[in-house]
C-alpha cells in the first residue's frame, strides 16, 4: 500500500511547463488557464515548474500567462527532455515543496514523464483528462477522462495520496490570457543531478512535419477520410482549406492507406482539435475519430451515406459526393457576400 500522507501539508497547483527547443508548448498555456481556475477554487497559488537551459525568457512568459511562482531548474543536462533527468528533478521538487495538484500535458513527453514521476512519489495519476473540477465538499479534484476509446467517460479521484496528478489532453482547455504587466516570483530549484543519473542520450531531434502545430491552432480544418478514394483527393481539400484560411486534417484510415502523413491525423490516436469550423469530407465518424474533433464549434459533414454516424455530431450535414460538393462549396464561398445580400433584398 502506498503511504497515505498528511494531506494538509500539500498546497498549491503546479503546472509542468513543457518546453521544446526553448519554446513553451501551447498545452502548458492551456494548463495555466485551467490551473488558474483550480487555484482560485482551492484558494491557493498557481505555480509553474520549468526545466530547461537558458530559461529566463520562458519564466517571464509563464508569469505573463498567470503563474504566481515559477520553480526553475536551469541546467545543460535539462536542455532536452530525458525521462531520468526530468523525473529526478521534478520528484525532488515535489518531495521538497509538496504541491497539492500537479498537471502535465498529455503529450508524448508528458505521457512518458507523468507516470514515472507518479510511481516515484507514490501517488495516483489520471490520464488524458478532458475536464477538471474541484469538489465543493472536500476540495478534491474531480478528474474526468474518456476511456474505452471514448465510449465511456470516467471521473477519477485520488483519495489519500498527494499530489493529485493528472495529464490533460492538449487542445481541450482554454488558453490563459497573456498580460505582460503581471508580477510573479522566480524560484531557482536546487538541482541534484549528475551526468550518470541520465541513462539515455538524445542524439538528434528530427522534425518531419510542420503542419502539426497549425492543426491544433487552426481556426478551420478541412478533414478528409477514406471517402476521398485516393491520395490526390487531399489536393482538392487543400484548395478548400486555403480558401478558408485553414489546414488539412485526416482520418486514420487515410493515414493507414499512406495517402497523408500521420501528423494530419485527427482522433484518439492522432491530434485533438478544437477549431471554429471542422469540415469532415468522406469521414464515417467512428468514435475514435469523433473523440478528437467533437468540441469543434461548428462541425460540417459531407458524406454520400445519409446514415453515416458523422451526421450525429454535425451542425450542418450535406449528403452528397464530396467531389461535387467541395468544388460547389468553393464557388459559393467566392459568392459569399452576394448570397447574403441577395437574401436581404429578396
Amino acid at each position: 500500500m502506498p503511504i497515505v500522507k498528511d494531506l494538509s501539508s500539500y498546497k498549491n497547483v503546479w503546472v509542468f511547463a513543457e518546453q521544446r527547443q526553448g519554446k513553451i508548448m501551447p498545452v502548458s498555456i492551456e494548463l495555466l488557464g485551467e490551473g488558474r481556475k483550480l487555484a482560485t477554487e482551492t484558494g491557493s497559488e498557481l505555480c509553474a515548474i520549468l526545466l530547461g537551459y537558458n530559461t529566463e525568457d520562458m519564466a517571464k512568459e509563464l508569469i505573463a500567462y498567470g503563474a504566481d511562482k515559477v520553480y526553475v531548474a536551469d541546467n545543460a543536462l535539462l536542455e532536452n527532455f530525458t525521462t531520468d533527468a526530468y523525473t529526478k528533478v521534478i520528484s525532488d521538487a515535489i518531495y521538497e515543496v509538496k504541491p497539492e495538484i500537479v498537471l502535465m500535458g498529455a503529450t508524448h513527453i508528458g505521457r512518458d514523464l507523468a507516470p514515472r514521476v507518479a510511481a516515484r512519489v507514490d501517488t495516483g495519476l489520471t490520464a488524458d483528462c478532458t475536464q477538471l473540477e474541484i469538489d465543493p465538499e472536500d476540495k478534491k479534484i474531480l478528474q474526468t477522462r474518456p476511456a474505452f476509446g471514448g465510449n465511456i467517460m470516467a471521473t477519477i479521484v485520488c483519495q489519500g495520496h498527494r499530489p493529485q496528478m493528472s495529464t490533460v489532453r492538449p487542445g481541450v482547455m482554454s488558453k490563459a490570457e497573456m498580460d505582460e504587466s503581471r508580477k510573479g516570483e522566480v524560484i531557482a530549484l536546487d538541482i541534484k543531478l549528475a551526468k550518470e543519473d541520465v541513462r539515455t542520450e538524445v542524439v538528434e531531434i528530427v522534425k518531419e512535419a510542420k503542419e502539426l502545430v497549425s492543426l491544433t491552432d487552426a481556426d478551420v480544418i478541412v478533414a478528409g477520410g477514406k471517402g476521398l478514394g485516393k491520395a490526390e483527393g487531399f489536393e482538392l481539400l487543400k484548395q478548400l482549406a486555403d480558401k478558408m484560411g485553414g489546414v488539412v486534417g485526416a482520418s486514420r484510415a487515410t493515414v493507414d492507406e499512406g495517402w497523408i502523413d500521420h501528423s494530419h491525423q485527427v482522433g484518439q490516436t492522432g491530434t485533438t482539435v478544437k477549431p471554429t469550423i471542422y469540415i469532415a469530407c468522406g469521414i464515417s465518424g467512428a468514435i475514435q475519430h469523433i473523440a478528437g474533433m467533437q468540441s469543434s464549434d461548428i462541425i460540417i459533414a459531407i458524406n454520400k451515406n445519409a446514415s453515416a454516424p458523422i451526421f450525429d455530431v454535425a451542425d450542418y450535414g450535406i449528403v452528397g459526393d464530396l467531389y461535387e460538393v467541395v468544388p460547389k462549396l468553393m464557388e459559393a464561398l467566392d459568392k459569399g457576400e452576394d448570397l447574403v445580400n441577395a437574401l436581404k433584398t429578396a
Binding site: A127, T155, C158, Q159, I205, D297, I299, F311
Partner: protein, 262 residues
C-alpha cells in the same frame, strides 16, 4: 538475450457499443483481442529472435482465466514462454497497483535485457503501466518506440514525437513501449498453433508466488478510484441541408456568414 513482453487482453473497442436504455457499455459478445500496441511490441521482440540466435521471448500477462487464449496466440506467433498472473487479489487495480504486480512478477523471473510493453491499452487508455513498471524495476525507459537497433548492450532508438522523432542512445536493461510503426505483427503459423498447445507451457502464477504483501496489489492498493462513469452526451440535433448541391452549399455559406464564422 532475455526479452519480456507485457501483453494485455482487451475488448475490441471498435465493436463496443453503448446500451441506449441503460447507458452502459455492452461487453457481452464483444470479442477479446490482444491489445494492438502489444501485438506490435511482440513483433519487435520476435524480430530480434529472427535476427539473433540466443534470444528468448517470454510473454507476461495479468488478467482473468480467459486471458490464456491470448497467451496461446502469442506463443503461436513465436514467443517461447508464457506467464499468467491470475488471482482475485489483483482485481480492480489502477495503474499503480497493476504495474506493481507486474514488476513483482518480473523480479521473480530474474534476469532480463529488454522489457517491451505497448504504448497503451485500448480499454483503460492510460499509457501509464509501461513507465511505472520501469520505475519500479529501477531501469530506464523509452516510450513511443517506432524503430530500434541493438548492438551488444547498446541501443539506438527512434522515439516518435508529435512532429517527428528523436534518436536516443541507451543501454540494456531497458523498458520500451511500442507503437504501431514498430512493426506489423506476424500471423500465427499452423505449426506455431500446434506447438503452443503441445510443446509450450503457460505458467500460472498466483498472488502467493510473488512474495509481496497483499496490500500492494489490486483495488486496495490503488491511489485512484473511479468516482463515477457515464456515457458522453450526444450533441444536439444539427441541420441537414436540402436541395441541389448548389443550393445546399449556398445555404451553408449563408448560414456561416450570418453567424459571422466566415
Amino acid at each position: 538475450m532475455k526479452v519480456i513482453v507485457c501483453v494485455k487482453q482487451v475488448p475490441d473497442t471498435n465493436e463496443v457499443k453503448i446500451d441506449p436504455v441503460k447507458g452502459t457499455l455492452i461487453r457481452e459478445g464483444v470479442p477479446s483481442i490482444l491489445n494492438p500496441d502489444d501485438a506490435n511490441a511482440l513483433e519487435g521482440a520476435l524480430a530480434l529472435k529472427d535476427k539473433y540466435d540466443d534470444v528468448n521471448v517470454t510473454v507476461l500477462t495479468m488478467g482473468p482465466p480467459q486471458a490464456e487464449d491470448m497467451l496461446r496466440e502469442c506463443l503461436a506467433m513465436g514467443a517461447d514462454d508464457a506467464i499468467h498472473l491470475s488471482g482475485r487479489e489483483f482485481a480492480g487495480g489502477d495503474t499503480w497497483a497493476t504495474s506493481n504486480a507486474i514488476a513483482a512478477a518480473i523480479n521473480k523471473m530474474g534476469d532480463y535485457d529488454i522489457i517491451f510493453a505497448g504504448r497503451q491499452a485500448i480499454d483503460g487508455d492510460t499509457a501509464q503501466v509501461g513507465p511505472q513498471i520501469a520505475e519500479r524495476l529501477g531501469i530506464s525507459q523509452v516510450t513511443y518506440v517506432q524503430n530500434f537497433e541493438i548492438d551488444g548492450n547498446e541501443l539506438k532508438i527512434q522515439r516518435q514525437l508529435e512532429d517527428g522523432y528523436e534518436v536516443i542512445n541507451a543501454k540494456t536493461p531497458i523498458l520500451l513501449t511500442a507503437i504501431k510503426e514498430l512493426g506489423e505483427p506476424r500471423y500465427m503459423t499452423v505449426k506455431g498453433i500446434y506447438d503452443s498447445f503441445r510443446e509450450k507451457e503457460i505458467k500460472v502464477w498466483g498472488f502467493d508466488h510473488l512474495g509481496i504483501e497483499n496490500d500492494q496489489v489490486g483495488l486496495k492498493a490503488s491511489p485512484t478510484r473511479v468516482h463515477k462513469s457515464f456515457v458522453p452526451q450526444p450533441k444536439g440535433q444539427g441541420v441537414m441541408l436540402e436541395g441541389s448541391v448548389q443550393e445546399m452549399t449556398e445555404k451553408l455559406v449563408v448560414a456561416l456568414k450570418q453567424k459571422h464564422l466566415i
